[in-house]
């Protein structure tokens, strides 16, 4: 076997969509690459696209980090084949049961974008092994070493590092197109078509919940923030506050720390930790979970951007975003890459399952506003419920009425649940219903005839 070339990645996505048309959808992204290549993604999931939580996985922002694409294709093929054959999946010492595959395919969506940067990948695979950026020639002034933008510095998150960061902060980005580290951020945020495609996906689905951007190397699982250390006490000390400009990015200082709600910080650590244990179970490699800033300050990265979106625009869903730095080199020999594909796949499947289990959205909608019941008869309260975990609905009745508590089992999609209420009185009253798992409460007026 060998690494996939760029044409093969596209063909592989199309082939899977043809083979399993009811399980996945081939999505051609709106923007072509700078050299005119078509870029596409594959959505795996039986629910309609706007229902069910979604995990986006992207590879190959950075051209030379070849394996990200191969991870995406292999993972998609594994899920589709295992689900359609009714089996589980095993990666070394880590197994996923048949029922877990069913939950992944029927209860959520996994969206893979194997190659964000096909021009760069092609260049890296045919001309220069260590090419990192895209192949945008517009700003190179004819100098071949100055071609391209670092796509993972081009996102609209504290992009303008000279304005947003402390002058002494050592930010891993550059405003020089010819920077030898190839970290040029581009002329403006989201300037590159390849980055606009990712942005389009992040905004398109109302239930985009998790995002993993695959990079190499380092055996790390990174999570926000990359701008500074995180804190949960001062919400005003955050990336949107212009009063904080010029203060960000210094380690071990009190000048600035990026705000993250305590609950998010906790869930980031939990999810990163559980991914790391699944990865380790495959063949024993230790991936270290840590915040991006623990490495060094960055600006314009995809993970911070994805997680920041809901704060900038309240209509967008909260996306918990991670960067996995897989492996110990950019282009390991294929037998080693296969092992890496296995371990990272295990981590990603685990993120989907754990994400759904821990924070998978539960939506309970009470459809009944009031009940008119005649003495001696029965009417039903009606709920519309979406939940991937079992729930209880407890009912407190006023005197003269009776209703049984109801247990609702986990299931994919939304469905109607009815609770019958019986009347032995001709006096009215108030029904109180509550769900101990979500803490929600509802009131329903009862009106006798």
């Amino acid at each position: 076997m060998a690494y996939l070339n760029v044409d093969e990645v596209e063909s592989a996505l199309i082939a899977m969509a043809r083979q399993w048309p009811t399980l996945c959808e081939h999505i051609v992204l709106p923007k072509r690459s700078c050299e005119g290549r078509s870029i596409s993604a594959l959505r795996i999931g039986k629910l309609p696209a706007e229902e069910g939580d979604m995990l986006l996985i992207s590879g190959c922002h950075h051209a030379r980090e070849w394996g990200g694409a191969d991870i995406c294709i292999s993972l998609a093929a594994d899920i589709l084949e295992a689900y359609s054959r009714g089996t589980g999946l095993k990666y070394g010492g880590k197994s996923f049961s048949k029922n877990e595959l069913i939950r992944l395919v029927e209860g959520m969506h996994i969206l893979v974008l194997p190659v964000v940067n096909p021009d760069g990948r092609h260049h890296s695979q045919t001309v220069d092994h260590l090419w990192r950026r895209n192949r945008n020639r517009s700003y190179a002034g004819g100098n071949p070493t100055c071609i391209g933008v670092d796509l993972n510095r081009n996102y609209d998150f504290l992009w303008d590092f000279r304005k947003h960061f402390h002058p002494k902060a050592d930010v891993g980005t550059s405003d020089n197109p010819c920077d030898p580290q190839q970290t040029w951020r581009g002329p403006s945020p989201l300037s590159e078509p390849e980055v606009q495609n990712v942005d389009w996906l992040l905004r398109r689905y109302p239930r985009m919940r998790w995002y993993v951007d695959l990079h190499s190397y380092g055996e790390l699982i990174l999570y926000p923030w990359g701008s500074d250390e995180s804190q949960s006490d001062q919400p005003k000390m955050d990336f949107q506050n212009p009063a904080m400009n010029g203060k960000r990015g210094l380690p071990d200082d009190a000048l600035y720390q990026e705000y993250i709600p305590a609950a998010d910080a906790r869930i980031y650590q939990q999810l990163a930790g559980t991914m790391a244990s699944s990865i380790k179970a495959v063949r024993g490699r230790n991936y270290t979970p840590q915040s991006s800033f623990d490495l060094y300050p960055t600006s314009g990265c995809a993970d911070d951007y994805a997680y920041s979106l809901h704060r900038v625009d309240g209509r967008l869903p909260k996306i918990l975003a991670f960067t996995i730095e897989w492996g110990r080199k950019f282009q390991p020999a294929w037998p080693e890459m296969e092992q890496i594909i296995a371990e990272v796949s295990a981590g990603l499947l685990n993120l989907g399952l754990e994400g759904m289990r821990r924070s998978g959205r539960v939506r309970i909608t009470l459809k009944t506003v009031s009940l008119r019941i005649e003495k001696g008869s029965q009417r039903s309260l009606e709920f519309l419920i979406e939940s991937m975990r079992p729930l209880d609905l407890r009912v407190d009745c006023p005197p003269g009425y009776e209703a049984a508590d109801r247990q609702v089992l986990a299931a994919a999609g939304s469905r109607t649940v009815r609770i019958p209420v019986e009347s032995r009185t001709d006096r009215g009253g108030k029904l109180l219903i509550h769900c101990p798992q979500t803490g929600e409460e509802w009131e329903v007026q009862i009106m006798p005839f």
């Binding site: 060998a2 093929a77 990666y91 220069d128 730095e325 080199k329 080693e336």
Partner: protein
């Protein structure tokens, strides 16, 4: 393409110093290439043999803590020469289905 078999590990007290060295010597650097060690930070770099010799010598004269790791005798990775999925063949993942 020349193979990148020369693997060196560079250490420094701060990541900034590593990035400075990387910039000066045009070394390759990704986001995760810098690691926190028990003492200080380190960075792995893969180079061609001729570049490797040159950079090692230069860094040593600058007093930088650098060592060659000889774990890297593997083949240059192979890229698929044709399009395996051009005619509808479906990719297989690396996982065992069972």
């Amino acid at each position: 393409m020349e193979s990148l078999r020369y693997h060196i590990n560079i250490r420094a007290p701060r990541p900034a110093r590593l990035r400075q060295l990387a910039a000066r010597h045009r070394l390759d650097l990704c986001f995760g290439s810098i690691r926190k060690e028990k003492r200080g930070f380190s960075m792995d770099v893969y180079l061609s043999p001729s570049e490797g010799e040159r950079v090692m010598a230069l860094l040593a004269t600058e007093g930088v803590e650098v060592q060659r790791l000889d774990d890297d005798t593997e083949e240059v990775p192979v890229i698929s020469p044709t399009n395996r999925y051009a005619f509808g063949a479906v990719p297989r993942g690396v996982g065992e289905k069972r």
